[in-house]
Amino acid sequence: MSDADAVGEGRPSRPALPSLPAVTRTRLLLAPLVLFDLLAFVVPMGYLLRVSLSERSTRQALVRGTWSVDGYRFLLESSLLRRVFVFTVLFAVVATLLAVGLGTAYAYAAWQASGAVRTVLLAGIVMSMFTTLVVKLFAALVVFSPNGVVNDALVASGLVGTPLRLINNEIGLVIGQLYVVLPYTVLSVYSVLTSLDEHLVEAANDLGATPARAAREVVLPHAVPGMAVGGVIAFAWSAGAFAAPALLGSKSELTVAVEVQNRLTSFEYPVAAALSVVLTTVVLAVLAAGLYGLRRRGGGHDV
């Protein structure tokens, strides 16, 4: 206890090391992560910002040492890129709403279930989360294509006359993106539900609430912080969606991330970098707003 004050303000349980001053120990422990994030994240991102402020050139990818806001001006002036931005945000909102709605229902079902059903529901979601995105999207392509399993079944059952178009359009994009974000919304809601006392639901039932009413008035309010965290993650990842739009969309459903790659491969570095900077700013602003809202509400839960 005597050396507790050397460690930090009001943290009695951590002692300093006998040989190493506590501050040195903490610094050494944090060094690998901080150094890594500086070298692989902060500096490259800073460099990208610098590239976005370089002159555009038709002859080379990057004219070093120049300063210009042409990249950003181009974003504002190009009607194509404006459309891409608007489309990306709309797409992210739709994917987020669907993911939060379906994810909350799934998490609630897993929380309510017991024994084998709960294990299967949880294992399924963890499996899906850990499965390579390429595999999930390839699978969606096989299943939802015009001559895929879903359309075969629909046509065979007589529900539809001709195969539905489920890929190479907006529907395909949203289907594909759900494979990316749904596992995360399920798990962020599920993890807050595990802290809910089941006796509260029992009490509501004893007091005459129908199960649906108990779910709405007892469980749902408790799930809100998890829904918010899941929603913020889903939005961030959908706004930056690349794989689902590139594979399951057509040329008319360009997202910002797909456009970044297009500009990089055509060696327009300043435009690609400017797009990246604006995209990252939008994503982080939404994240910050979401976390701020959560904190004000008083529900603390870190990702």
Partner: protein
Amino acid sequence: MSESGPRTDGGTETGTGTGAAPAPTGRRLGGAAVGRWLFRAGVGVVFAFLLAPIAVVVATSFAETGSLTFPPKGLSLRWYGEFLGSSRWRRAALNSLVAAGGTTVLATVAGTTAALGVSDLGGSREAAVLGLAVLPLLVPGVVLGSSLLVFLGEFDLQQTYMAVVAAHSLWATPLAFSVVRAALSRFDPRLREAALDLGASPFRAFFEVVAPNIRSGLFAAALIAFVVSLQEFIMTLFVSGPDTRTVPVLAWNSLRGSLDPLVSVVSTLLVAAVVVAVAVGAAVAGLERLATDT
């Protein structure tokens, strides 16, 4: 906190599910039962939506013909043979293992040491380190990939293993960090204190007292880092080259061409790797914790 024990019978009896769908009060019990079954069916559809396509792909990998049809016409291991015979795919598999190995080491070490050190900071500096640690997870992969490509390109380091490991670790490290932090929050720090008081060196205290107590957390962190590296492909698409290309990147490139049964084979192998990883992780750390700690 995430540890919720076996549920009481009473809770499940009275609480068996209905959806958040509004069911007007005063309806007869029949309406509630219908709602309950509709809700279950809906969740079943979501479950099938997530997992059935993967099952379909696994089935198509055993097809005899070259076209992707379900159910597959005839069964054979022909495409597995093609996979093993392809030097491109073998190289990609090797690259994936190298990248995953490197990422596991880097992410687990950086994540664990940071988790051990961060709680000593307290206050705004702790918040700053937490923010820095988690932030890369929330930046779009395309942006991270572009920044690494453009930056490392200045030193001709793009397309190296180092670039791939760095990219994968950007996402693996925050996850390893938060898993170990969750494990440490369940560890009684007085145990370590006691070891130090009894004269153990800090290293000995870590390896003989702390590590055994958070063993399952450390293992889960390493496992998650490995799996994240194995499945990542967006950043890898930007920073890898012909010699460092991983399996998902090669699969992606083949997909852009045509629907190739080899991609079904590769998908099946990747899924099998994940099934093994999740099963091992669930056995060691518990499914509940695997689901809530990450």
